[in-house]
Point group: D3
Chain length 331, copies 6
């Protein structure tokens, strides 16, 4: 079972110039064969199906714990895509309505993934960069520990490849921040699985790093995370389980030689931004303020505080200028 | 982000007579259009993509929180399938090996889902009862709050239908315990979404219950959960978020008239059983004891306790007789 | 546009011994690449997309009109499957209920297509014999008339192959009656498209008949239709359109030498049987009599006749014995 | 069975400026999860599989009859797409040929759905806006009447959402006319299913209207249909069946309060336009006049009138100017 | 480009007792994610897309050459499946015909993959063990040499897992002979890719062998091939290319320590058996002797030898008894 | 089994202006329903599954031999796509590196098939023009000889249609050269299958040529191949098999009346170009010169010649100017 908390793994830049074509490309990191849904679901199924786990506890803990972190990566990719799509349709201020007659979506006809607009509410889809849905064929859970780990090492390698290429293709600041972060964290998982294979078989995979052969620190957006030490840490994403991570995750980082370390707490993260309504796609409604009024009333009836309780990053302050610009353009 | 803890939502019976054909049917509740992967992923994507969530906080909290519970349902379905598959290939005791020459999988040729054995290690797959993979087309996240809730109500309705039919088809105790539990918890989610629509629009959906028109309490395996009050409770699956659930989830249960209540903690669950090795499918290895020896050594090197730390249900005591029987038969 | 009338193309035998494995095989004729959904949708899309149709009116009329007949074939395959599935779960008489606790679907665990029971209400699915859904890739509509006709000839040829093999595999009387009929009517369409190609290009395709090389009249279930002349007739399925069929559909039947003829009316068909409720799968409800009571009341309020108006074949008389037997067995 | 007549549900504007990118978007209304193939096939399968239909006749009649209307909607979407694609490749007048060497399709390289040109003859495909084929997984036919109706209500709701967004995205007059019409007729079906649920269970769904929350009459292209009363009428699409529609379809329209009414005849429709040849894609031939000559000869041999018999809208007069313009541009 | 020669990689046993359920399982080795179509197509696409191949010639040669061998493995899997399906429908001797009325396929209703009989002529399909088609998503060709090799090593590892499990499940002699051979040859490819990675990066993968951890020589059906030295040899499948294999493929076999060797010729193979007609599925015809008569005549007209020229294994002598038995049973 | 040789069927022009949108369209000829993967796999499976082949040897030889040629067509399509993608990302000379920070893939964001860049290394994919993977459903192998040949004739017809349209859409010289060649060779296969049907049944299909009705010699890029006589020849792609081709492949070419001839050797082909590295997508590496150094060393250790042995077309000389231009632009 899981507990969920409303923080995202890192701070993404606020909505600025929308980039629907870029958002369509970033979908590869969501629903592609090597996207975050794949890493999340692969490790999750492997952990569910892990037989004889007491006898292999350090390895079980490793797989189960990384699975938990991957949920946060799926979330982060979604957030980046949502950020990039924000403003791609007009977002009038206040109670002003969008006029459907004025073709508020005409600017995105033929641009990016049409289902971002026709199916979703300018939101992420469980699809890849060609608009094809993620599917269960991408999950490998043979039950054979060495094979599953071999798969996982390969999966992280393919994922690193895709992240680097998305980085090279999409200049939107949210995409760059996203890939910078994922490269560092995916790199840690890549090491973790290689090390696990090493521990079980003696095979030395460390010389494969980095693969693809771009040193992680050449990517400027990786730097803040490297400086924080995130390229060395495995966070423990559990209130009390997965205590045996240190039995596998140790030794030097093959790129830097520094010592790997298990961080005995989950990543702290930051409150997500409350991305603004996009009434042209009825998200969260054609007239969102009606929803807000009802919500306020319901909160009162339930004896809850007057102000919404959830923490969100201060969107208003930070994105005011960016949104205004985008809105103006898409009118 | 999530924290994960190694407990499953309810105690499932230990492995007994294996039922691969039944396990293939239960896959419908895993990877079918109305399976638990669908409920989990639908609510998860809706929560990721929720725009203007501060203005609609009680509804955001509802969707985000139920998503968290659904992860546990995916896990429970996997556990039930794994339980039903245990013993379908010979499991000799101790260090005794399985002899591949003796066709240890011949008993399951033509029975159930062949990929349970050929692709997986007698483990759950992200597929439906026809062996087709779950895919992202099953996710609906329009961004329009009323529509998403309408979808969710319909999804839970279809899910209830499927659970009832799996209950009627599969007599294996793990399948029955599973469906009994899911019917009660799914029923709560069905009510929650109906109530949310009611709050937003005034439309009265309560007269639709139960749908399908079998009263939940007619299913004996639902009773222990009803007695515990699980048909009335929405658990809060978060350390500190989703405080506004009570603003939506309140009023009477349409089947019993009792008051719905938000339970301010996650479901407690129970430690999962450590399902035994199935060496014929190399799970977790053709010679699992080698893995165990390495694990023990690694644990020592890391200064961890001598005994594995993770809590698991006491399989040995409870399933001794059942496993012996199953093993004997499959030899 | 279409008008619909509640008759099916031929009388199928009443439900008798259920045959879920046979029903799963018959699905090939529904949702397989050469199934009736394919013939229906291919000709329908070709007719929708037909450019310059005035200049090619006889050919347009041919394709558009055969499309209309194919709808009736999809319907007939569905009816046969539904007939074969009837009685596969217990059907108590009167208001007696099915007891879900008694595993009313256990007899079909591992038999046939599980989604006939878990997804549907013992009803036909848009799937093939492997449980895979029909999909739009099976439609060929190039817009090039000669090519589309070449495709259609090939499609009918593949369809004839599949029908013959289903005939050889499934002994259930409904399957045999179905395939006997479809072989005759499909044979007419096969001829029609071959003749159309002949008219347009001069290529002589008549020597290809019969293909596969089993003379149609070797199949006893084809005989009544041959005796009625259905192997020579193209019915006009329209109130007033498709007048130019005779310009293409003429000359001798390549198997018998008899003259082909355009029949200036639709096939008459027969009223369908009202297949009995299957409460174990909640079709049409767990307690169907409640629905019936409401329907009666609504009919009265609307000033309609006391008895339901739709014509259905007299099921009660004809299937009494068969159903009783099947019900007894499935208890 | 069906009869087919060559009229389309409403008059669409003649071909004008081609809009291949728009046509690719409109495909969502054809082959998307909520497209017209889905509504057509869902209600069709539900009606085929309807058990105990005599006892539930008004509901059977409703589903079966709406299915028949949906065929006309699939046809209308196809016609709109075909209209939008007309002129996207050069269409020289008279017997003049297109020169393949001059890259007559280069203008559409990278624009819209490539298979509109490479696979089809500038014609509609059974695909969605991402070029993925419609598939049978989109059909829900559980056999449980209340569930099927709940599904249908949700399906129409999702369809309305998609239609509104396509309306906002595509300015081409054919797309706008199409969506205006479909919104009105889909709205009627949405009401019909909601009312049916109400009749069966007492649940009041009327307050959900309109959903999405854009009043239908805000869309100018809906107006002519509302003025004609099409937002209140259920047409009976059958020579003699489906007499019990009034038992369910009655009471007020939830948006306007006016009385719903069963119209005891099918919609009249209008003759379709004969869309002009597009020789660059060989539709209906590289040299269509050859086909026309053969057709004329065959018609004579069959003793048919000299002029083609089928009624088509007078394309020549109405579209002369538009086509000329488009042709000029695409040369 | 390729040259093709009509020999198969090893002698498979003649048809004996048919095993349609086993044949359905063996399909996993054909069209599964790790089946031979995947190995063939992966290496083929990687070789087609190999950039800068002169600079990396030994690696290009390795991938291109193994691709060529894999074609023979696809062929061998097909042959094994065809062998196992032979006799599953009645095969009367001489010109005697099969009587379709006697349900010659009823014995295989509900057994194995229905499309082996309904779609194919008791022949192999490009599908996996669940009847799902192989698809291009299974191909990984990133263009990054180290990554492609990492993938290939993992692919061969997954393939070895699947072969071992099919070996354990299916006792039919053709399946056992097939898997015995593929395990040895796949093992060589697994080593080859591991060695290539080693050469490029220095990472030592040899300790991963064998994986899964069953020594190859424990499988009796592997022995003849090991005795012949096939576990050490890389055959050069080209008239004159791929000369640089020895630059990569050298050093010790990690399981046995013996020296790897490049064999400068293709595997010799054996003539395939001419599998007998199966007239119930019209393979090669409902009346195959008609085809034979035409072939004889055509051969004469072309001045070819009186007897067919192609070499085939002497089926008649070897399989007389086996076929007789199978035929008798399936009558 | 096959032997492979490193020549491609014809000389394609060197890389020049990259055309990623065109390359995406050309994918239809690779992984589309009528693409070269389909022709290759259809004939290959038909030959594998051919029963009673001795009695039908000329036909077996025909299908098996054409299959072998089709491999070369798949290869040629891949080469054309790779050529068209070359230069779409910057390719600095010598050891100069690409700087990932400078968004070297931004120019192709939203252009063509994103997976050409994100998944592949600017290389061909087993997908169609909509980015959907080729799948095994495209293979028809009924085992019935006449039907398989009918299918093959239709398949070649559909393939000719697609090739013509790709020719009309894509002006890139590699695409034009490719389609010119494939039209001629596909035309020969189309004739071969039509002739085979004629021989077996007497049906005269020759009047269907050409279909689509564009004479092949109207395409300038077909001319050199027609002049060489390639429109009349069937090459024998085998060291010693397929001797009976002349029994079927004879008589006049239906378009020109010239005599068809079996050419008793494979097509000679030309050495392929060694397409240059594309370091922005890590093909063959982020720093390809490192790979080259290792390769040189390995070659020496193995006693191989100093220079790479494989023959490749002299890219440097021929494409110097073109590449320089493309590189400059994409910087």
């Amino acid at each position: 079972m899981i507990l969920r908390y409303d923080r995202i793994a890192m701070e993404l830049p606020p909505p600025s110039d929308p980039d629907p074509a870029g958002a369509a490309a970033v979908q590869e990191l969501m629903g592609g064969r090597f996207g975050e849904m794949s890493t999340f679901m692969n490790y999750t199924f492997q952990s569910f199906n892990f037989r004889g786990r007491q006898g292999a506890r350090p390895f079980y803990d490793l797989v189960a714990n990384i699975a938990a972190e991957e949920f946060g990566h799926v979330e982060l990719v979604a957030t980046a895509i949502n950020t990039m799509l924000t403003g791609a349709s007009p977002s009038p201020n206040g109670r002003a309505a969008v006029d459907p007659k004025k073709s508020p979506l005409s600017a995105v006809k033929g641009v990016g993934n049409p289902q971002h607009f026709l199916a979703g509410g300018q939101g992420a889809l469980p699809q890849d960069s060609n608009g094809r849905p993620w599917n269960g064929d991408y999950v490998f859970a043979s039950g054979d520990l060495v094979e599953d780990l071999t798969h996982n090492f390969f999966l992280e390698t393919g994922a690193r490849n895709n992240k680097l290429k998305v980085y090279e293709m999409v200049e939107h600041p949210a995409a760059r921040a996203l890939t910078g972060y994922l490269l560092v964290r995916g790199g840690v998982h890549q090491i973790a699985y290689a090390r696990a294979i090493e521990k079980l078989t003696g095979a030395d995979l460390m010389k494969l790093f980095p693969t693809p052969r771009i040193p992680t620190d050449k990517i400027p957006e990786c730097k803040p995370h490297i400086e924080r030490g995130d390229h060395l840490r495995l966070y423990r994403f559990s209130p009390s389980d997965y205590q045996e991570l240190p039995a596998v995750f140790n030794g030097p980082n093959p790129e830097t030689g520094e010592d790997l370390v298990v961080f005995d707490e989950p990543a702290e993260g930051v409150p997500p931004r409350d991305l603004p309504r996009q009434p042209a796609v009825f998200a969260p409604d054609f007239a969102p303020e009606d929803v807000a009024e009802i919500a306020t009333k319901l909160r009162q009836q339930a004896g809850l505080p007057k102000e919404p309780t959830g923490l969100v990053a201060d969107l208003q302050a930070k994105t005011k200028r960016a949104t205004k610009k985008a809105t103006a353009r898409s009118k």
